[in-house]
Amino acid sequence: MPDSLALNDFLAGVERRAFRIAQIALGHEQDALDAVQDAMLRLARGYAQRPQQQWRPLFYRILQNRIRDVQRRRRVRRRVMSLLPWATDDVEDAVEQIPDPAPGPVRQLQGAEALGALHEAVRTLPVRQREAFLLRSLEGLDVAGTAQAMGCSEGSVKTHYFRALQSLRSRLGDLIS
């Protein structure tokens, strides 16, 4: 029987960062909530018996897969809608309708412009770079944990992270310094 208290503590510890990672990737608050909830459920149902030190990379691997599922489904829907005879070009695109990423004191104190630009810049990174950057920077996973979560080598994590950082620095260097 898994330790429910430990699992609760773990999920409570990661849920906010996980939500923000999903929201940046998907650009949609409800989709992000759904992705995080699904990742929680899958971890609880399938992996709660695993050693606790494995939970974090497992959880984020599940979450990344879920995020990719949502993005794939959006592409399919756009494709299907474009095939319908009466469809127009103004099909709703959730990615282009990015909600306010962080209401509250942070934006007021540290600059809405910088945070909004940062979220947008991270969202538009190539997928693997974005994953590596968010897992390393926002979640604070080490290289080995990030590699486990992404299902790639540690060398790939370093490369993706470095390129993401380079890209962000070139885009935001003047705004965030």
């Binding site: 029987m1 898994p2 429910s4 699992l7 609760n8 999920l11 409570a12 849920e15 906010r16 960062r17 939500f19 923000r20 608050e29 909530l33 909830q37 929680m40 459920l41 971890l43 609880a44 149902r45 709660a48 794939r72 489904r73 592409r75 399919v76 829907r77 494709r79 299907v80 809608m81 095939l83 319908l84 005879p85 990423p101 962080a102 209401p103 509250g104 942070v106 934006r107 540290q110 910088a114 945070l115 940062l118 979220h119 991270v122 968010l134 920077s137 926002l138 080490d142 290289v143 080995a144 540690e154 992270y161 470095f162 950082l165 962000l168 620095r169 935001l172 260097g173 965030i176 310094s177």
Partner: protein, 127 residues
């Protein structure tokens, strides 16, 4: 990027700080929804997945194939859309001959597929 424990420079520190602060200051409604999701997950700990779910994937693929067929028929019957049926078929087969065909076949949202198919049928019948 020498190793996983290297020192962050000022830009990295600033970016990391902004991201983490934005994650820690979620609004009350979002925090509440996350807490509810967590409780739901904890209740599901150890619960078995419904074995019938495994049959939804082939059912989804079948529904996707049905949708494609209905769309092709509906577009052939819709005047003024594309009049050359041969060109239409070739075009649409080409449209689906890439990786997205696999994505469509993997679409698990049967409700959406069924809605789109029903809409295409209704439009074809009416137009």
């Amino acid at each position: 990027m020498s190793d996983g424990k290297r020192t962050q420079d000022a830009f990295e520190q600033r970016v990391t700080g902004l991201l983490r602060a934005s994650a820690s200051e979620l609004d009350a409604a979002t925090s509440s929804q996350l807490a509810r999701a967590r409780r739901t997950a904890l209740q599901a700990t150890g619960a078995r997945t419904w074995p019938g779910l495994r049959y939804l994937v082939p059912a989804g693929a079948m529904a996707a194939a049905l949708l494609l067929a209905v769309i092709l028929i509906a577009r052939q019957q819709t005047p003024g859309v594309i009049r050359d049926a041969g060109t239409l078929t070739t075009l649409d087969i080409e449209l689906f001959s890439d990786a997205e065909a696999w994505e469509l076949a993997q679409e698990p949202d049967l409700e959406f597929i069924e809605w789109a198919a029903a809409s295409a049928r209704a439009e074809g019948a009416g137009g």
